[in-house]
């Protein structure tokens, strides 16, 4: 399975990004890590270029929402039906509840949303979803 990952927007927090990469490799994914400070268009380009099965975007500084608004538009421009879209990390600036966050990000076009969820729990969920076949 191929996965594209990275930190969206003007976010330079690198430690969790490296941990995600190492964890994915431990789970035998082929990882294309775009690193910190990555724009949404770059993620989509990389997914097409690598023919990825999963796009896993992360965010630590909470700015991901602003960067996610164009996702449906970009998904509409390319044939990305087979790709699992997941996002995780701190998904809001300041406090927010799971009940508010998850539907909001699903509406932006993500299949899986992990707001302040343990890394391994999130990756388990991604693997489970891939096994079942997306929807």
């Amino acid at each position: 399975m191929r996965v594209v990952t990275g930190v969206v927007g003007n976010d330079i927090h690198v430690v969790a990004n490296r941990l995600i990469e190492i964890s994915l490799k431990e789970r035998d994914f082929e990882v294309f890590n775009l690193g910190v400070n990555t724009y949404l268009e770059e993620f989509i380009d990389a997914v097409i270029e690598t023919d990825a099965d999963v796009l896993l975007i992360s965010s630590l500084n909470g700015e991901a929402e602003g960067w996610s608004r164009d996702l449906l538009f970009l998904k509409g421009r390319f044939d990305l039906d087979g790709v699992l879209f997941a996002i995780g990390g701190n998904l809001s600036v300041g406090e927010a509840s799971q009940e508010d966050i998850i539907p909001k990000y699903k509406a932006y076009g993500y299949d899986l949303v992990f707001h302040q969820v343990d890394l391994n729990e999130g990756l388990d969920k991604i693997e489970e979803t891939l096994k079942k076949g997306k929807q």
Binding site: S23, N33, N120
Partner: protein
């Protein structure tokens, strides 16, 4: 030719106009007390230097007053992030707002905006050596202004100020911009006491393997000496293991001298700087005090020439001048009971570390490029030099480190770093993942001081 380049760099509306003849006269006649290189020659104790900088002149002046009353040896001047990224327009705007509102809208002192004429007044008033702390890949104008102000120690380097701080600033440009910095430091060094250059050993401050830290320290030292710098400080930060710090210090001292001499720089003074813990700090301030005290003990054991202090408020943001100064006072107090500590060595560990460093250095020198900076550039591109947890795209990020039972940082994966099988085996023989996943170990190992 070089002077033409300097005229172009310094001819900008963002700082006061440069009078190079006047600057030369100032440096020629400057008090020896402003030169840390002079201070190192004549001092028998470890110099204590905090970090700190505020947007306005008055607040830095007040901060320095607090530090001097606390018995500081070396003052810091930390530069704001806009200036570091060469956004002088924003620095100017935020300084004006900070002066108007009395709030700190910059995380440091916008030195270029203040200019050298104003800053020099403060520098000569305190008559204490000042160290420039920044994080700037293109520091040409910044260092011109610093030296003209009487700031005679310049921290940083093309690798250590790039790999931990930037995603895509071009590394080749950083080498050339820093070459300029080295050249002006060398030129001014002929006028009075030498200007001291200091490399930034903590790197990304997250599980950095000593072998790579030392290689980068040695290479930045050689690149600096190559341009004529005569006084250089190598540095590293507390690893989390006292014994690993002692081993690192013995090896870095020996190898810095060795490589400087091989390259014909026998007349250079080399110093060691020790950074108190640079990783995540506890939120319990009493734990912080204990951590800082332990750092001070280790700085004595490694016989550092200078130590850079932290404060009990580290976990909460930029400390007040009072809290910052009290860290200096306490560190001096602790140092006072740590005189004449015997030298400790660990032959097996030192041999292992020396062998890893020598192997990597050899691989760098074997690169076919025609100049040292290109050899280093190629080595980083190929992952021969690879630091864990760098945000920069040129860094390979293949090497993985974890702590062993005694909290020593060990290679778990070497990536393309050319350490021998024997050394890798030695490193891995010490590791015990205790039945947890690699990532669980890494998360634990990053947070040991929390």
């Amino acid at each position: 030719m070089f002077q033409t380049e300097r005229n172009i760099i310094t001819n900008t509306p963002y700082t006061d106009s440069f009078d190079f003849d006047e600057i030369k006269d100032f440096i020629k006649g400057a008090s020896k007390n402003l030169f840390i290189s002079h201070h190192f020659k004549n001092s028998k104790k470890i110099s204590v230097q905090p970090r700190g900088g505020f947007p306005t002149y008055d607040k830095v002046f007040e901060l320095y007053g607090e530090f001097v009353r606390a018995g500081v040896d070396v003052l810091p001047l930390t530069i704001d992030s806009n200036t570091r990224l060469n956004d002088y327009e924003m620095a100017k705007k935020m300084l004006a707002l900070s002066e108007e509102t009395d709030e700190n809208l910059l995380n440091g002192y916008p030195l270029i905006t203040h200019g050298y004429r104003a800053t020099r007044k403060m520098v000569t008033h305190y008559n204490t050596p000042i160290s420039l702390r920044h994080g700037t890949p293109d520091a040409r104008l910044l260092v011109e202004v610093a030296l003209a102000s009487g700031i005679f120690e310049i921290e940083g380097g093309p690798i250590t100020y790039l790999l931990p701080y930037s995603k895509n600033f071009p590394l080749d440009k950083a080498f050339l911009y820093w070459k300029y910095v080295e050249k002006i430091c060398a030129e001014y060094s002929t006028l009075n006491e030498p200007i001291n250059r200091e490399s930034f050993g903590p790197l990304s401050a997250t599980l950095q393997p000593p072998a790579i830290v030392i290689v980068i320290q040695l290479l930045e030292m050689l690149l600096s000496l190559e341009e004529g710098v005569k006084s250089f400080s190598v540095s590293f930060s507390q690893t989390g293991s006292m014994s690993q710090d002692i081993v690192s210090s013995n090896v870095i001292k020996k190898l810095a001298r060795k490589y400087a001499d091989i390259f014909g720089h026998n007349d250079t003074q080399i110093h060691l700087v020790y950074h108190q813990w640079m990783g995540a700090f506890p939120r319990d301030k009493e734990f912080s005090d204990s951590l800082i005290n332990t750092s001070t003990v280790i700085a004595s054991m490694v016989r550092a020439d200078k130590m850079i202090t932290k404060t009990r408020d580290e976990a909460f943001g930029i400390p007040t001048p009072q809290v910052n100064a009290s860290a200096v006072r306490n560190t001096q107090y602790t140092l006072n009971m740590l005189k004449g500590i015997p030298v400790i060595t660990d032959k097996e560990e030192e041999e292992n570390l020396t062998s890893m460093v020598d192997d990597i250095m050899e691989a760098v020198f074997n690169d076919p490029a025609d100049t040292l900076w290109r050899q280093v550039f190629n080595s980083i591109k190929k992952g021969i030099i690879d630091i864990p947890f760098s945000p920069h795209i040129i860094n390979a990020g293949e090497a993985i480190t974890v702590r062993d039972r005694n909290y020593n940082i060990r290679f778990y994966e070497r990536g393309n770093i050319p350490i021998s099988d024997r050394c890798l085996e030695f490193e891995r023989s010490k590791i015990d993942l205790k039945g947890m996943s690699l990532v669980e170990n890494i998360i634990h190992d990053i947070g040991i001081m929390l």
